[in-house]
C-alpha cells in the first residue's frame, strides 16, 4: 500500500507530467485561457488516460510481448488511444453538448496529446505491474489536471495585468508556466 502511495505522490507532484516531464503541452497552453475549458479538458484527460493506460498495458503484455511484436508498440498504442478518444467525443456530443462545444478542437486533439501516449509508454518502459500501471495512469492524469487548472487560474489573472506587447499571449504564458514549474520543482527530493 505504501509503495502505491509513494508512486502516486511522485507521479502527481514530483514527476508532474506537464511541468517536469514536458508532456501534453499543446492542450496545456491551448485550453488554459478559460477555467471552464481547463476543467473540461482535465476531466477528459483523466478519463481517457486511465482507460488508455490500462488497455495499452493489457495489449502490451498479452499480445505484443507474448508474440514478439514489441516493434509494433507505437502503432498499436496510438490506435487504442485514437479509438478511445472517438468514443469520448461521441459520448460528450450526445450527453453534454455545452462542454463539447467548449472544448472544440482540443477534444480530438487528445489523440495527439502526448501526455496520454507518454504515460502508456512510461508504464511499459518502467515495467509496471497492472496495479502500478493503474495507479500511475490515474496519478499522472490527476497531476495533469492539477497543473492545468492551477495554470488556468493564473492565466485568468494575467488577463487583468498589463503585459508588454511582445510578451503577450503565448510568450507570457510560457514564462508563467516556467514559474509554476519551479514550484513543482520544490517537491523534488521528497521521495
Amino acid at each position: 500500500m505504501g509503495d502505491y502511495l509513494v508512486l502516486a505522490f511522485s507521479c502527481v507532484l514530483i514527476n508532474n507530467i506537464l511541468l517536469a516531464q514536458y508532456l501534453g503541452n499543446c492542450p496545456f497552453l491551448g485550453t488554459s485561457k478559460k477555467m471552464e475549458t481547463a476543467v473540461g479538458m482535465a476531466f477528459a484527460v483523466v478519463f481517457v488516460l486511465v482507460m488508455a493506460g490500462l488497455i495499452t498495458w493489457v495489449i502490451n503484455t498479452l499480445v505484443l510481448v507474448k508474440f514478439n511484436l514489441a516493434y509494433l508498440r507505437t502503432i498499436a498504442f496510438i490506435l487504442v488511444i485514437a479509438s478511445l478518444v472517438q468514443f469520448v467525443e461521441m459520448f460528450l456530443k450526445k450527453s453534454i453538448p455545452a462542454l463539447y462545444a467548449g472544448l472544440g478542437i482540443f477534444l480530438p486533439l487528445i489523440t495527439t496529446n502526448c501526455a496520454v501516449m507518454g504515460v502508456c509508454l512510461i508504464n511499459v518502459n518502467e515495467e509496471y505491474t497492472f496495479l502500478q500501471a493503474l495507479v500511475s495512469s490515474f496519478a499522472y492524469a490527476v497531476g495533469f489536471g492539477l497543473a492545468l487548472i492551477l495554470f488556468a487560474g493564473v492565466r485568468e489573472r494575467i488577463l487583468l495585468a498589463r503585459v508588454p506587447r511582445p510578451l503577450q499571449d503565448t510568450s507570457i504564458a510560457l514564462v508563467t508556466a516556467g514559474i509554476l514549474s519551479l514550484t513543482f520543482f520544490a517537491f523534488r527530493g521528497w521521495v
Binding site: 499543446c26 485514437a82 502526448c114 510560457l174 508556466a177 519551479l182
Partner: protein
C-alpha cells in the same frame, strides 16, 4: 492566392516557423533541447516523418474517405515513426537512448498531424513535399537554436557528435536553471518574445 513553390518552402523557415509562429509540438521542443545535438537529432527525425507522411497523405488524399481521415493519417505517421525508431536503434543508439520516449512520441506531435490535415490532404505531391521540408527544417532550426541557448548558458558547452565543446571560459558560472524543466519554459517564452519583437506582427 496560389503561392509559388519557393514560397511554399520558405514559409516554414520564418512566416510559419514552428514552434514559434505555429504554437504546436511543444513537448519535444521543451524536453530534448538540453543540448544542441539532441535538438538537431530530434529535428531531423521529425523532418523525416513529416516529409514522408506528407508524401503519402498527399498521394492518397483522393482515396481516403474524409470521415476516417484522421485515423488513416495517424497510421501513416505511426508507420514512419516506427521506421525512424528502428533505424535510430540500429545506427544512432546513444542518441536513441537520450531522446528515449520522445522518438515514439513523434506520432503525437501536433505539427506532423497538423500538416497532414491542414496541408497535405489538400495539395498536390510536390507542394506537400516542399511544405514538409520547409516546416521540418524550420522546426530543426528552432530546436537547434533553443538547444544552443540552453546548453551554452546552462552548462557552457555545445555538443556535436557526442563531444561537448567548452565554449565559455573556466570562470564561467553555469546557469543550471536553464537546463532544468522550469528553465525550458522560460527560455522558450523569452525566445518567442524576441521573435515577436523582430517580426512584423
Amino acid at each position: 492566392m496560389a503561392k509559388t513553390l519557393t514560397q511554399e518552402f520558405v514559409k516554414g523557415l520564418w512566416d510559419e516557423i514552428p514552434p514559434f509562429r505555429l504554437v504546436l509540438g511543444l513537448c519535444p521542443v521543451l524536453a530534448v533541447t538540453k543540448t544542441v545535438e539532441n535538438g538537431i537529432g530530434m529535428g531531423v527525425a521529425t523532418t523525416f516523418v513529416l516529409v514522408c507522411s506528407n508524401i503519402l497523405v498527399s498521394m492518397l488524399r483522393k482515396v481516403i474517405p474524409s470521415k476516417v481521415r484522421i485515423a488513416c493519417f495517424i497510421i501513416i505517421i505511426a508507420t514512419f515513426v516506427t521506421v525512424v525508431e528502428l533505424v535510430m536503434q540500429a545506427f544512432a543508439y546513444p542518441l536513441f537512448l537520450k531522446l528515449g520516449i520522445f522518438i515514439p512520441l513523434i506520432v503525437v506531435n501536433c505539427i506532423v498531424l497538423g500538416r497532414a490535415e491542414a496541408f497535405a490532404s489538400k495539395n498536390n505531391l510536390l507542394r506537400s513535399i516542399l511544405d514538409g521540408m520547409g516546416i521540418g527544417i524550420g522546426f530543426t532550426l528552432s530546436l537547434a537554436a533553443l538547444g544552443a541557448v540552453r546548453e551554452l548558458l546552462g552548462s557552457g558547452t555545445l555538443t556535436f557528435w557526442e563531444t561537448p565543446i567548452q565554449i565559455m571560459g573556466p570562470s564561467f558560472q553555469p546557469f543550471t536553471f536553464l537546463i532544468e524543466a522550469p528553465g525550458a519554459f522560460v527560455a522558450l517564452g523569452l525566445m518567442l518574445c524576441i521573435m515577436n519583437l523582430l517580426g512584423k506582427k
